[in-house]
């Protein structure tokens, strides 16, 4: 049973230990902040406080307060000791958010594009320490003539320190290899659109539990070191895709260039990118509260575009260490030596600092653009059909088979069509999609 004991202490006029109710106490711990909206005054609780007593003792041992179970967050725990801290506890929220993702694992889809022989496969193997292309058969020139640009996918599961990544590499063999390469990027663009479309359908469906996300998060475009900057094919490819995917340009086989040559080429390529209005992936700006080192790194990153890379599948011995590299009679090129090439910068950017951002930009910008366009074009279809029905007085469903290209319309017709489209736009896209589905997929 509890037996409160009151100690009467005489402090004269001093009331240091008066038990005031509901007021701020001197040692409010730093974690605790009053709500931004302002702390309301609690009622001045007119109950007379025990002026003399200092502490009330109980027989029961009082535990460390606040007591809490062993934290499941181990080294991610924001509260790093179990001492008496008066905190609420929601700083563990970021950990909670990612607990499920960590359990499920992450995924990332990387596309590599560029002419054959630029070292794409080797670079991918070097980046992710995999051997995705072990049993590849290299085609000779005759065999290549009849090839169209294929899209191939390799998936690999990588685990490191308990984190699982499902990595998908989308390759584009045959790109730029033919004699006539007009529109050879079309199959690439179509592939990207197909992934968006599939995601859009899934997202608009009724059962959204297990949506597969195959959208391409990043495209490494390989620029040949043998040219003078960008070639026409490079420009056309990047312009066709810069609004569908994050493009990261890469200067391939950089070990054929001296450092000065590399610098000159980078500057030239950057100028041309700007000149042609190509929107490559932009690194997000640093927050003002980041430390100086981070800001410096960020600046260096931005000035390294395009990344001059070298890849290697072999390990050589350099200065007593075993490193990935290429052995030449005149020296050893070390892949992971930042004085030799930008491989480390690229890898860090891709994996260690910007992987999440690449996915976010894909999701929030490229995909949303696709979705908006898709909805608009579906709406146009509906309006056309309605008009056609009005003309022919057929009582068909809303979506008969789409007909050929529309006849050129007059100004008034255009205004009417636009007004119709606006009306239909008011209808929820999901209804449209369901109707389209029923019509075309059954």
């Amino acid at each position: 049973m509890q037996e409160p004991q009151q100690q009467h202490q005489d402090h004269g006029g001093h009331e240091a230990d008066r038990e005031n109710e509901g007021q701020d106490h001197p040692h409010t711990p730093s974690y605790l902040r009053p709500p931004v909206a302002g702390r309301a005054q609690s009622d001045s609780g007119s109950e007379p406080s025990l002026t003399q007593s200092k502490c009330v003792e109980f027989d029961l041992p009082s535990p460390v307060s606040p007591s809490r179970p062993k934290s499941p967050w181990s080294l991610f725990d924001p509260y790093d000791n179990n001492e008496d801290k008066e905190y609420v506890g929601f700083a563990t929220l970021p950990n909670q958010v990612h607990r499920k993702s960590v359990k499920k694992g992450f995924d990332f889809t990387l596309m590599v594009a560029g002419e054959s022989g630029l070292g794409k496969s080797t670079l991918v193997n070097s980046l992710f320490l995999t051997d995705l292309y072990k049993d590849r058969k290299l085609l000779n020139a005759e065999e290549r003539i009849t090839q169209t640009v294929e899209i191939t996918k390799h998936t690999v599961d990588i685990e490191e320190k308990g984190v699982k990544l499902k990595l998908t590499i989308v390759d584009t063999p045959g790109f730029g290899d033919a004699i006539d390469n007009t529109e050879c990027w079309k199959s690439v663009a179509d592939y990207i659109d197909q992934q968006f479309e599939q995601y859009f359908r899934d997202e608009s469906g009724l059962n959204r539990k297990n949506i597969q996300d195959n959208r391409v998060h990043c495209c490494l475009y390989f620029i040949s070191p043998f040219g003078h900057g960008l070639r026409p094919l490079d420009v056309e490819f990047m312009k066709a895709l810069h609004e569908k995917v994050n493009i990261v340009p890469v200067l391939a086989k950089a070990d054929t260039l001296t450092p000065t040559e590399v610098q000159k080429k980078k500057i030239k390529i950057r100028e041309e990118i700007e000149q042609y209005g190509i929107k490559i992936y932009q690194f997000p700006d640093c927050d003002s509260d980041e430390d100086e080192e981070f800001k410096q790194q960020d600046l260096e990153l931005k000035e390294s575009i395009p990344f001059a890379v070298i890849g290697s599948n072999t390990v050589v011995e350099a200065k007593g260490k075993r490193v990935r590299g290429r052995l030449y009679p005149w020296g050893i090129v070390e892949v992971e030596n930042s004085a030799h090439c930008d491989f480390v910068k690229l890898r860090n950017m891709l994996v260690r600092t910007h992987m999440q951002d690449l996915k976010d930009v894909t999701r929030e910008t490229h995909y949303e653009n696709y979705r908006a366009q898709c909805i608009q074009s579906m709406t146009r279809m509906v309006v056309k059909e309605r008009n056609r029905n009005k003309l022919t007085r057929e009582s068909g469903t809303d979506f008969p088979i789409p007909m050929g290209p529309a006849v050129s319309e007059s100004e008034t017709e255009k205004l009417i069509r636009e007004k119709d489209e606006e009306d239909i736009m008011q209808t929820v896209p999901e209804t449209l999609i369901n109707k389209v589905k029923k019509q075309f997929l059954c």
């Binding site: 709500p35 307060s65 606040p66 609420v88 929220l93 970021p94 958010v97 993702s101 051997d131 009724l206």
Partner: protein, 325 residues
């Protein structure tokens, strides 16, 4: 760079043993940074008839004056004739994490003479939030981060009669457990002794089971064995018998939150006195995100599927402001 363990990573593509460490685990840090920047929303509803200490408990949970009563509204306002829904929001911060906390109060619930259908305004409010979210989601130009006003958690306060659940309790929880996460708590539990508490809890749990009320964490949503065993322990201990207080007293040289009576001080955070600490740890420190996820992935999806199916589709969006072309 350091290699971890046996060095290098494993891949199912016939694996390479070439040296090094890629750095995939850093993605966790990247995600953390991002989510910390964007901040979190959390919406909690409190339901129970007046005088059960709802506002005080919420203040105690978040260690701030966040309830409606503290926002300056009259403490002795009249009991409304129908159930009101009143929300109040605050931004609180801890450890670099910002949370926009919204407390939805339901004054008038269970206070009338005839309490028939008094759950309807509450149900309507919950569905309205789902509808709002759905409308945003189907928009053509969508916001990057749709503002989330959906109720993530509903704390239902059971009166500590010591007997059993009241009919109103059963009706409410039965009807709403399928559209929102309900967490029943036994209010003002310092009116019961330890034995009385245990008996009452058991009786309440049995009644909940008999009536088929699935409170949070629901058995059917346990993902894997690890979740199931964690959640089983919590389900066994629920409903938590709590005491709330926003006043501090000195006990054994430490300042603790408590209620002072003539026969002793009830320490709110002392697990021997009441189960507040357990509730808080469960609600905030381990399952906060899960509450949001279950709301989003299950309750909201159920609502959405129902809406898409009925009447052949959703009604046209009337508000032209929404569809920016």
């Amino acid at each position: 760079m350091s290699s971890h363990g046996h060095g290098g990573s494993q891949s199912s593509g016939g694996g390479s043993t070439l040296l090094g460490y890629i750095g995939i685990d850093t993605i966790i840090e990247q995600m953390r940074k991002k989510t910390m920047k964007t901040g979190f929303d959390f919406n909690i509803m409190v339901v129970g008839h007046s005088g059960l200490g709802k506002s005080t408990l919420v203040n105690t949970l978040f260690k701030s004056q966040v309830s409606r009563k503290s926002a300056g509204w009259a403490r002795d306002e009249k009991i409304p004739k129908t159930v009101d829904i009143k929300s109040v929001s605050h931004v609180i911060e801890e450890g670099g994490v910002k949370m926009k906390l919204t407390i939805v109060d339901t004054p008038g619930f269970g206070d009338q003479i005839n309490n028939d259908n008094c759950w309807e305004p509450i149900s309507k409010h919950i569905n309205e939030q789902y509808e709002k979210f759905l409308k945003e989601e189907v928009n053509i130009t969508r916001k990057k981060r749709i503002p989330d006003t959906r109720v993530h958690c509903c704390l239902y306060f059971i009166s500590p009669t010591g007997h059993s659940l009241r009919q109103l309790d059963v009706e409410f929880m039965k009807r709403l457990s399928h559209s929102v996460n309900i967490i029943p708590v036994i209010a003002k539990s310092d009116t019961m002794t330890v034995e009385e508490k245990q008996e009452f809890k058991q009786r309440v749990r049995k009644e909940l089971e008999m009536n088929g009320i699935e409170f949070y964490p629901q058995k059917e949503f346990d993902d894997d064995m690890e979740d199931k065993s964690d959640n089983d322990k919590i389900r066994e201990a629920m409903p938590f018998a709590v005491v709330g207080s926003d006043k501090e007293y000195q006990v054994n040289g430490k300042r603790v939150l408590g209620r002072k009576t003539a026969w002793g001080i009830v320490e709110v955070e002392n697990p021997n006195h009441c189960e507040f600490a357990q509730l808080r740890d469960f609600l905030i420190r381990s399952h906060l995100q899960d509450l949001k996820e279950v709301t989003h992935n299950i309750h909201y999806e159920t609502y959405r599927a129902r809406r898409l199916n009925e009447n052949g589709g959703l009604h046209p969006i009337c508000d032209t402001q929404d569809s920016n072309l």
